[in-house]
């Protein structure tokens, strides 16, 4: 177990480095958008253009640029954005708590509703309750999340003449009420698509577990029905569920971009979007690196959690 964890941990830098290298050179392919084109006009002379390139640091050979970037990042210096000339790190520091909150709330809703409805429908297989929830799940998986968020803005204003708050981010520690009034409704809806998939997976996995002999044994020795379902059933269905939760975190990592766009919130997703459109290399490079590190560590944590969930899992 320990050895496995160490070996997997060694993979993390490998993947992160590969991804960073690929991103770095993909951005500078000969046919890629040249960031200088955004800062020149018809009157810019060749010398001025050269000066801009020099200022942005993209006049040097590609490999030299790469070495410079790596040494800077290793020393904790992320450079300045091309667009505003501001240091990259404060810009990101300002925005990441917003993304974390959106991520935690929407994945939380997805897990909460997905797993609990999955258990309910599995226990009540082929009843009216089961059918109703399954119909909802198929719809939940088919409606695009941005459409749900738009409906959240449009429908209450038609029906009750009420519009949910848009924009104006306040930290949850300063003013929890305003913060949750802004974030709770949209994250709930953002979680619906995930909850639908989660419910279907939980249901089908549980139904398979219900057929096992140990379930009959648990019942035969007189365990209460609820305890059989939760302690013996759900526990044994948890591995695929946790795997899907991990995939949903990855998907929602910038899936919050949709929410940010519709609710006019200035988060990391928007920042990344604008930076790619304007070929803001330092920002794009660092955000890819940042995502890579977090996603890799999360996947590692999920892999290791399998042993906690099911002691029979052995890492070889």
């Amino acid at each position: 177990m320990r050895q496995y964890a160490m070996r997997r941990l060694a993979y993390v830098p490998l993947i992160v480095v590969t991804v960073s290298v690929i991103t770095f050179f993909t951005l500078r392919l000969p046919w890629a958008t040249d960031p200088t084109t955004l800062y020149v006009n018809q009157n810019t002379t060749a010398e001025q253009e050269e000066a801009i390139r020099k200022e942005l640091g993209i006049d040097k050979p590609m490999f030299e640029q790469f070495v410079d970037w790596v040494t800077d990042v290793a020393r904790g210096d992320l450079g300045e954005t091309f667009r505003s000339g501001q240091p990259v790190w404060p810009e990101i520091q300002r925005r990441w708590p917003i993304n974390l909150e959106i991520l935690v709330l929407s994945v939380g809703f997805s897990g909460l509703f997905g797993i609990s409805f999955g258990v309910i429908t599995a226990v009540k297989q082929n009843t009216i309750t089961d059918y109703i929830f399954r119909v909802f799940a198929v719809f939940g998986q088919s409606i695009p999340d941005f459409f749900l968020l738009i409906l959240l803005i449009v429908l209450p204003s038609i029906w009750w003449n009420y519009s949910p708050p848009v924009g104006g981010h306040v930290s949850i520690f300063e003013d929890p009420w305003t913060n949750l009034r802004l974030y709770l409704p949209p994250t709930l809806l953002l979680g619906i698509g995930g909850a639908a998939g989660m419910m279907r997976l939980t249901r089908s996995t549980l139904l398979e577990v219900f057929r096992q002999d140990y379930m009959r044994t648990a019942r035969a020795k007189g365990l209460a029905g609820r305890k059989v379902v939760i302690a013996h059933g759900l526990r044994n269905a948890l591995i695929p569920i946790v795997t899907l939760l991990g995939a949903q975190v990855t998907a929602l990592f910038f899936g919050s971009l949709i929410l940010e766009q519709i609710f006019s919130i200035n988060g990391l997703g928007q920042f990344f979007l604008i930076s790619t459109i304007t070929s803001d290399f330092p920002v794009v490079q660092f955000l890819v690196l940042y995502t890579a590190v977090i996603v890799c560590l999360m996947n590692l944590a999920i892999d290791l959690s399998y042993a906690l969930i099911d002691p029979r899992v052995k890492y070889a």
Partner: protein, 299 residues
């Protein structure tokens, strides 16, 4: 005489083999058992027709301005109303099917098709091909799709080509793993051993025995890829990253979105309904096909 009729009565035609009902009748039976699948198929056929001929079926040219009173709601001439520029929303929905159709066509046949092929090949033959495909799939799965798309977009510029490549890559790795697993299961079946015992070559076993047995799953995966591709296309168009053509996602963004906030809901709701309907169709068809073909559910 009497004995003769008696023997005729018990006379049984041992050579009689009940004929299998014709394919039309078998299809009809299947359709009655899976009404939701039929609905999904009908929606998808409608979608393909709109994707191919949408612009010609539209009652008004989709880009023509002022064909109706701006922002007017539903009427007989304009069933889904008119947008701010006076364009007919129904016509724009018919025309907008094209871009979704092109993207999903490539995602399904190029992405999911090639991914399935690589999955089956890797599952059966294993070795380096399997290793390369599986490791790149893992690396791909570790990254948020949007990050990949935006990086590709910075590198190759906006436009349909980048769009098709990015969504097809997503579809490629989507179903690949499932097929690999199924192929590995099939390859240890007795019929494969039997084929090997009578001297079939590895390629013959692969093409004639293994592939036909996993092929139904490919269709299931393709219908899943169709829904996912349309969702991805509309979300990216909504963010303003799509190509400059009428598209359902794009018609729901920007100024139309702010109009919807002011109460002109019909401007954004109908394109959204169109996307949801097509994805619903693909999901329902996929579910029915899985019910019909998945051997684990056949018990």
């Amino acid at each position: 005489m009497a004995t003769q009729t008696q023997t005729a009565a018990v006379d049984f035609d041992w050579a009689y083999v009940p004929t299998r009902p014709g394919w039309l009748r078998r299809m009809g039976r299947l359709a009655r058992q899976h009404p939701t699948g039929v609905f999904g198929l009908a929606v998808l056929i409608l979608f393909v027709v709109c994707g191919l001929f949408g612009e010609r079926l539209a009652p008004y040219p989709p880009d023509e301005l002022s064909v109706g009173v701006p922002l007017e709601g539903s009427s007989v001439e304009h069933p889904f109303g008119v947008n701010q520029l006076g364009q007919d929303i129904f016509s724009r929905i018919l025309a907008g099917a094209r871009i979704s159709f092109i993207i999903s066509f490539f995602a399904v046949f190029l992405g999911a098709g090639m991914g399935s092929f690589l999955g089956i090949l890797g599952g059966y033959f294993g070795r380096w091909l399997d290793y390369v495909v599986q490791r790149s799939g893992e690396a791909f799965a570790a990254f948020p799709g949007l990050v990949l798309f935006l990086t590709l977009r910075t590198a190759f510029g906006p436009g349909l080509k980048t769009f098709i490549i990015a969504i097809a890559i997503g579809a490629l790795f989507g179903g690949n793993r499932v097929l690999r697993g199924q192929t590995i299961l099939e390859k240890h079946q007795v019929y494969v051993e039997a084929a090997r015992a009578i001297g079939c070559s590895e390629w013959r076993i692969f093409i004639r025995h293994v592939v036909p047995n996993v092929l139904p799953l490919v269709v299931v995966i393709m219908s899943g890829a169709l829904g996912a591709a349309i969702l991805a296309e509309s979300a990216l168009s909504f963010l303003g990253l799509g190509p400059e053509e009428p598209s359902w996602g794009r018609d729901m963004s920007g100024s139309n979105l702010s109009l919807a906030r002011q109460g002109y809901w019909h401007v954004v709701v109908w394109p959204g309904v169109a996307i949801s309907l097509v994805v619903l169709g693909a999901n329902l068809l996929g579910d029915s096909l899985r019910d019909i073909w998945d051997p684990r559910l056949r018990k």
